[in-house]
């Protein structure tokens, strides 16, 4: 809902109001992306740093099999994590939003607090959780379910568990508004009319939240696509996602031009996928 007298401005005051946000957002967000775009055409000097130029060699390297595979791995990891995350988040949020408001609050506080935790802290706690000395396997040994403590990291499952962990609160928070506004009387009506709970779920609930589910999927997908520390600490080298390689190129190999080119690819991939998914979602509605 917009302002009741929403409309074209009658004087210059609104434009004046916009000057400061415009300067800040353009300078601090838009200009950097442009500089990065320019940088991606600079020339890399292998034994030193880089110099201004207009060459395509960074993109040639970015499109090599190796980096294309990295992009593939990143997209795959992000898709799997986002899917699992949604599978857990959807029913959980549904149950959560059915609780009394006052009982929801502690869970919401817990969720936002986890969401705000640094990826560093989460990577660290998961590496402990899965380690031999301080991990849950010790608990299983105490419960006599396991003979000796084992180490479960690094590996694909370890990385995935932490990625789902870090994105689950995000998914819940994003799903929360539409699920808590969902009118349960619809399902109840359907059930009274003789539909099984499962049928009424697919016929009544799902169509109402499809758009929310899609949005959440994309947000989580991009969130995971951007994770940098978890793949590095909990994954093996073949699981290192593109952000790890981008950061390596920029900070370790002093190859800013290649890092910029890879970042442009990541930008196009994530923006393109979001738009595509949104469009698909809209056409199905």
């Amino acid at each position: 809902m917009n302002h009741p007298s929403y409309g074209k401005p009658k004087n210059r005051w609104p434009y004046f109001l916009l000057t400061y946000p415009a300067i800040m957002i353009l300078l601090l967000f838009f200009v950097p992306l442009c500089i990065m775009f320019a940088l991606s055409f600079f020339k890399r000097i292998q034994s030193a740093f880089f110099e201004p130029a207009f060459v395509f060699e960074n993109y040639v390297r970015a499109f090599s099999t190796f980096f294309l595979q990295r992009i593939g791995v990143s997209l795959w990891v992000a898709a799997v994590a986002a899917f699992i995350c949604l599978l857990i988040a959807f029913p959980f949020t549904f149950f959560l939003s059915r609780l009394r408001r006052s009982r929801q609050v502690p869970y919401l506080v817990l969720l936002i607090s986890i969401l705000s935790l640094s990826e560093v802290i989460i990577a660290f706690s998961w590496s402990l959780l899965l380690s031999k000395t301080s991990g849950i396997s010790n608990l299983l040994v105490a419960l006599k379910l396991l003979d000796a403590p084992v180490s479960w990291a690094p590996g694909f499952v370890a990385m995935l568990s932490a990625l789902v962990y870090i994105s689950l609160p995000l998914a819940i928070i994003v799903l929360y508004p539409s699920l808590s506004r969902l009118d349960v009387s619809l399902t109840e009506a359907a059930t009274t009319l003789g539909a099984s709970p499962i049928v009424s779920f697919f016929n009544v609930v799902l169509p109402n939240v499809r758009q929310a589910l899609l949005t959440t999927f994309i947000l989580v997908f991009i969130f995971v696509l951007g994770s940098y520390l978890i793949p590095q600490v909990l994954g093996r080298p073949e699981h290192w996602t593109l952000p790890v390689h981008i950061t390596d190129q920029a900070l370790l190999k002093s190859n800013m031009p290649l890092a910029a080119a890879l970042a442009m690819l990541l930008l196009i991939a994530s923006a393109g996928l979001s738009l595509l998914t949104l469009r698909l979602g809209r056409s199905q509605l």
Binding site: F66, P154, A250, L251, S254
Partner: protein, 354 residues
């Protein structure tokens, strides 16, 4: 929250910003020295820097450097903005060369370094014009390390990595800091010369790829491996001789062994970024560090090998053996990583760690 309280909170945070950020600027003569973080920096903080302050009155603020090339990339980026995150930094030989090529290092004044004569010739870094840009600080070895609980017998050769140790090894993840190509070349071929020909390089890569299944952890950060080695989770691998020694002295069940092919010898030099203003203090520090008596102290307390010629040192045979070895070391092929680094590291990711 009321608006007034909000403003108060904001103001306090602002003050904290200023004070918090200003706490670093001391009034007396001071010097920011970059050394590798962790055990290494801890022992410098405990044993070396206080002695320097005592001798010269210059306070030292130590900065934890990351290993690998991240530090010189930061130094270079900062120097472009006229900033220096540290006044003197310990820089590994590969990074010395890269910094030299981009003109990062300030030339040092040899007349202010009276103790330079003690430092081994090859560890006095010179640029293309013959100007001094770095002075050897410490040398260190990458050796074969193992957990003594899991392996009661110490391994004797690098070829142990190729034996039946499925998922038991921790190796450094990057071609430019693990020097595993050099190790493979020395163990199974003719040494670094093999890496100069294409067939040789291919053969070394193929041989090294055989260890893949033995590797549980390709570590980027030392802490990761050290924790796992000490716990016995990953009982064998390559690691730093000095740090392993310090951990063993702390009571952890770990040991470092010089394989019969030799440990990998790398050295750190003290170097000064061109953006540094405290040149006098920097020279004073480097000169102080080059004294044989200080090099003795470093070898004894940090566990690294000295860069000063052996005849000036007072280290006993045993003490020298603890930080070094008579076995001829493997020397990293710096030129290979510098000039063909992109290609090598990509192949590395594809064929070895990938």
């Amino acid at each position: 929250m009321k608006r007034r309280e909000f403003i108060k909170l904001a103001a306090t945070t602002g003050v904290a910003a200023v004070t918090g950020l200003n706490l670093n600027f001391a009034q007396e003569r001071s010097l920011k020295v970059g050394v590798y973080g962790g055990y290494f920096k801890d022992s410098f903080d405990a044993n070396i820097f206080p002695k320097f302050t005592e001798d010269t009155g210059i306070k030292v603020e130590s900065v934890a450097e990351p290993t690998g090339e991240a530090w010189i990339v930061q130094l270079e980026t900062a120097a472009k903005a006229g900033q220096a995150p540290a006044d003197v930094s310990m820089i590994a030989q590969g990074s010395m060369l890269r910094g030299m090529n981009s003109g990062l290092w300030a030339a040092l004044d040899e007349s202010k370094l009276s103790n330079l004569e003690f430092v081994r010739e090859q560890l006095q870094n010179k640029d293309a014009e013959g100007k001094l840009i770095g002075v050897g600080a410490v040398s260190w070895y990458i050796t074969l390390v193992s957990n003594t609980d899991v392996f009661p017998e110490a391994p004797t050769s690098w070829d142990e990595l190729w034996k039946d140790h499925k998922n038991q090894l921790g190796l450094l993840a990057l071609s430019s800091n693990s020097y595993l190509l050099e190790i493979t070349a020395k163990t199974f071929f003719e040494g670094n010369a093999t890496l100069d020909t294409e067939e040789g390089l291919n053969a070394v890569f193929a041989k090294l790829a055989e260890v893949k299944n033995n590797v549980q952890l390709w570590y980027r950060d030392e802490g990761q491996f050290q924790q796992a080695l000490q716990a016995g989770e990953i009982p064998m691998g390559q690691y730093y001789h000095d740090v392993t020694g310090l951990a063993a002295a702390d009571g952890f069940p770990v040991r470092s062994t010089f394989p019969k092919e030799g440990g990998v010898l790398d050295s750190g030099s003290w170097a000064v970024s061109r953006a540094v203003k405290k040149l006098d203090e920097a020279h004073e520090y480097i000169n102080w560090f080059s004294q044989p008596s200080i090099q003795d102290l470093v070898a004894r307390s940090v566990g690294t090998a000295p860069t000063v010629k052996r005849e000036f040192l007072t280290l006993s045979e045993d003490e020298f053996a603890a930080v070094s070895s008579d076995i001829e070391p493997i020397i990293p092929h710096y030129a290979l990583h510098l000039n063909r680094g992109d290609e090598i590291s990509q192949r590395w990711s594809e064929e070895i760690t990938g």
